[in-house]
């Protein structure tokens, strides 16, 4: 298997680390590199959290502080070995991140940064006022790291240690992002609805990446404490928390290497400015924040993807090597027999305040049937759709799927039962390939989590997922698009990709929300063909659609809604003849 450029870069860096250590570089530069390594580690956590997950935290510095103070206090007061305190610090960090995360991550995106600001401040004042932690003077005389009698806590040895930990973490992160769990994490950013419809618990993944980011900071804090051999609150305050975010934004918050670039640049600039500016201005003070502040605004305006994005554009994009031909197929759920009742919608109702959007609608879908849900604009079709898929909660009534009541369950639980859907407005991850987007649909059919992805014990399952994704894409005639960026697709293929993604979940019921909207005639014909083929394979389909040609062509049964109520239902022929339906669509003559 050919190496991917990412892995190649890692290998080159890993080989360079010992080389740099033996080069006759001045000690000053080794020290700089040590700091850059520790900062990059903390910033890497933000790449995962902010760049990939779309969440922001100003609390990274506070977590560095927890890691640093834990090891400082334990080694000084109880004489515990630093190699043990590392893990104690990580446990404490994870626990506090878990508390902050669980509290704030259920709410909309901006509560996490706000909570971390408050959290960072209170932790700073706590460290600065506790006698046991030496108040604002901090703790002094922390031991250096050593293995046996060999001191590895300073200079070149420490450089090798820090950078190996950093590169290992970067490698783990790259692996994670290219995995089942990673795709789920990348899905969070574009809003929870699509991810939840794929059976993904967005909340759990949000908490997970917040904790992971905190842990990277904690390890950096442990290193920092033993490298500086002293800790005090100023290194862990809100200002530093903002600087970490700054590093990752300037470097490129979407890229693992952006954290390296950002950490390096900010560290060097910080040093230069702290000397240069007071000399220019004539008095001492931390004037560098002016430059940082202005720079941050400028970067967000003119280079929102950071410095690394310029490098990334130049890098060749190689299609993923296809190595899953021989992979075992994923297990399939047992399917209902032809004609068996699949979906039973019983008098469902939805009220928004005084408005009844859906008024006691009932209909059924049997296995191997395509049911069309039609009606003029504003009839409540999409609301009905959202009620069935669990996006909205019911005011009254029940929805049963294969004899089991599913109303009241969250969207992801309904998805796990085998109900797959597409969206009226295509929801995808534009910077992933078609294949990866479709593999997201098979999320519930895999089990390997974040840890397995980071240490790469998931390759067998990955191959099985990709094999399934390719199979579904070929099933609907998208075989030649596998390695295309999803964002580059035209509307028609995008919609087909969504259907392939839904099929990847191995559903027994497929819900399609206006799949023909924006399609050209030829594409519509192809879509009709795909739908008929799926039905012949035993799939049940609920189709919300405005295109009457398509609806009349493929549906076995039609449900007509108007003003939230059920107007009538029957075969396409019956509906076409029905005067009430004509009146609803065209108006009546007076």
């Amino acid at each position: 298997m050919a190496l991917k450029p990412q892995s190649l870069g890692l290998l080159v860096l890993a080989a360079a680390v010992p080389l740099v250590a033996v080069l006759p570089l001045p000690d000053f530069w080794i020290t700089q590199l040590n700091y850059i390594g520790m900062y990059a580690m903390t910033a890497l956590g933000l790449v995962l959290l902010t760049g990939v997950g779309g969440l922001t935290s100003f609390g990274q510095a506070a977590f560095v502080g927890i890691g640093a103070y834990t090891t400082a206090w334990l080694t000084l007061n109880l004489g515990v070995s630093p190699w043990i305190t590392l893990f104690i610090g990580m446990v404490l960090t994870a626990a506090s991140a878990l508390v902050v995360g669980v509290i704030t991550l259920r709410m909309s995106g901006h509560y996490l940064p706000l909570a971390t600001i408050a959290w960072g401040l209170s932790l700073y004042y706590l460290m600065g006022n506790l006698d046991a932690l030496g108040k604002y003077d901090g703790l002094l005389g922390i031991q250096s790291l050593s293995i046996g009698n060999f001191d590895i806590g300073q200079g070149r040895a420490f450089f090798v240690l820090t950078w190996f930990i950093l590169l290992a973490f970067a490698a783990a992160l790259l692996h994670l992002l290219d995995s089942r769990a990673g795709r789920a994490i990348r899905a969070i950013k574009s809003g929870p609805q699509m991810a939840e419809a794929m059976g993904i618990s967005t909340f759990r993944y949000k908490v997970t990446i917040f904790v992971l980011a905190a842990l990277s900071a904690s390890v950096a804090g442990w290193l920092l404490a033993h490298f500086q051999r002293t800790v005090n609150p100023s290194a862990f305050g809100l200002k530093m928390g903002i600087e970490y975010l700054f590093m990752s934004v300037v470097g490129g918050v979407n890229y693992v290497w952006g954290a390296f670039v950002g950490a390096g640049l900010i560290k060097l600039m910080d040093d230069q400015l702290q000397v240069l500016l007071p000399r220019l201005i004539g008095t001492s003070g931390s004037y560098e924040v002016i430059v940082f502040g202005v720079m941050l605004v400028l970067v967000l305006k003119y280079l929102p993807d950071g410095l690394w994005s310029m490098v990334e554009k130049k890098l060749p994009r190689r299609p993923r090597a296809v190595d899953w031909q021989q992979a075992a197929p994923l297990p399939e759920r047992n399917k209902p027999a032809l004609g068996e009742l699949v979906l039973d919608v019983d008098r469902i109702r939805k009220q928004f305040g005084g408005l009844t959007a859906v008024n006691d609608i009932s209909f059924q879908i049997r296995a191997g049937q395509i049911v069309g849900l039609i009606g003029p604009n504003g009839a409540g079709k999409s609301t009905t759709f959202n009620l069935i898929t669990g996006v909205l909660s019911l005011t009254s009534g029940t929805v049963s799927y294969r004899g089991r009541r599913v109303s009241g369950l969250p969207a992801r639980a309904i998805a796990r039962e085998g109900v797959s859907r597409t969206f009226q407005h295509v929801k995808m991850i534009p910077d992933m390939t078609v294949l990866e987007n479709v593999a997201l649909g098979a999320h519930t059919r895999g089990h390997k989590g974040v840890a397995a992805a980071m240490i790469r014990t998931n390759s067998d399952e990955e191959r099985r997922l990709f094999r399934e994704a390719q199979r579904q894409l070929e099933r609907i005639g998208m075989g030649e698009y596998l390695h295309e960026q999803a964002g580059n697709l035209a509307m028609g293929p995008q919609r087909l990709m969504e259907i392939a993604r839904a099929l990847c979940a191995d559903p027994a019921l497929l819900l399609l929300d206006e799949p023909a909207a924006g399609l050209r005639h030829k594409e519509k014909q192809a879509l009709a063909g795909v739908l008929r083929q799926l039905r012949d394979e035993g799939m049940s389909i609920l189709l919300v659609e405005h295109d009457m040609d398509l609806v009349m062509q493929v549906c076995d049964h039609l449900v007509v809604m108007e003003f939230g109520t059920l107007l009538t239902q029957g075969t396409p022929e019956q509906i076409q003849q029905d005067p009430k339906v004509r009146a609803a669509y065209l108006g009546t003559e007076h």
Partner: protein, 346 residues
């Protein structure tokens, strides 16, 4: 603790709470109209207090020079963007001059008036005027071209603006702290509690400002336009409401409230160039507790923050900040349990 100490603490807390309430209102205001989480709110507080302090010494406050600098940057940006848009020099120049007009007028007045040692109230009014014109300029320079960015990007921009304004505060005011004279030195005994004139001023100003804000949003067309922008930006634009103008107006109001808060709090504590941040953040805690959306909610939460802080500083003075800022976690917990689950679309 007896009831006397308790009532003193309560009064103290409510007084500070009134200022936090104003800042909390400003935060809610800015967020609802522009989706900007306006971290630099506190800088306006410090700028307001320090500008008055420098006026007291008879010198021209550094904020004036900074204002001219900021106005020049904004004018150049305006000139450039208008030129790109219209390709007409007169239009571009007119827009640039319009940007410069108010800041230059205020600055000239300040430079002329500074050595004349005007009475305290006149100096106070001038300080508020100077800081208020910062509002639209900050919006023009930092936020305007990023209007359609996500709240997250705007938040990070806010942090950048906060950094820059704090550093510039240090540059223009120095590291020295100032304590302003009280506007009203009389004291009144109300049972065991002595109420100072300053406390009364703080309370009355806060109430007056809140009523004014309410009238503005309920009774004026401009206020309603801002509310429309808050509800639906695209819809507001289609109705002819400029989002640029709304944003600038909102930050003008935020700067005004900030400067006024600075004057109110100036006589009760020593203000440094970076003091505003903590004061602003407490207003912030109140605003967040109110979900960044409810004015009365922010008001009540701010009073609560003030009282907690007062009692916190009595029982464990070293930990009062810890108490205030940790408080936000249980508040958010309650909100996340009882609040509707935000299933937002980005």
């Amino acid at each position: 603790m007896d009831s006397t100490i308790a009532s003193i603490l309560l009064l103290d807390g409510l007084t500070n709470g009134a200022v936090y309430a104003l800042l909390g209102l400003a935060t809610v205001l800015v967020f609802t109209v522009t989706r900007i989480i306006f971290i630099p709110q506190g800088e306006f507080v410090a700028y307001g207090a320090l500008t008055l302090a420098i006026f007291q010494t008879g010198k021209v406050p550094g904020t004036v020079w900074l204002l001219l600098l900021l106005a020049s940057v904004a004018a150049v940006m305006e000139l450039f963007s208008r030129w790109q848009h219209h390709r007409s020099l007169p239009i571009a120049l007119k827009a640039a001059l319009k940007t410069l007009a108010a800041p230059v007028a205020v600055s000239l007045l300040a430079i002329w008036a500074a050595p004349q040692q005007w009475p305290l109230l006149a100096q106070a009014a001038m300080s508020v005027a100077i800081v208020t014109v910062y509002g639209p300029l900050v919006y023009r320079v930092a936020y305007q071209s990023l209007e359609s960015a996500t709240p997250l990007v705007l938040l990070i921009v806010s942090v950048g603006v906060h950094f820059a304004l704090t550093g510039l505060g240090l540059l223009f005011f120095g590291a020295e702290g100032f304590r302003n004279p009280s506007f009203w030195d009389d004291r009144f005994n109300l049972g065991p509690v002595a109420i100072s004139g300053q406390t009364i001023i703080i309370g009355l100003t806060a109430i007056a400002l809140i009523v004014l804000l309410w009238l503005y949003f309920e009774r004026t067309l401009r206020g309603k336009a801002l509310r429309a922008t808050a509800v639906n930006r695209t819809g507001a634009r289609l109705m002819g409401i400029s989002t640029h103008a709304s944003g600038q107006l909102t930050l003008t109001m935020a700067a005004f409230i900030g400067a006024l808060s600075g004057l109110l709090i100036g006589p009760t504590t020593t203000v440094f160039y970076d003091s505003g941040f903590l004061i602003g953040l407490k207003g912030f805690v109140a605003a967040v507790a109110a979900g960044l959306s409810s004015y009365p909610g922010a008001l009540i939460a701010a009073a609560f923050v003030g009282v907690i802080e007062a009692f916190g500083s009595f029982w464990a003075s070293a930990f009062k900040e810890v108490i205030v800022f940790t408080l936000i976690l249980p508040v958010l917990l309650v909100r996340s349990i009882y609040g509707h689950n935000a299933d937002e679309e980005h």
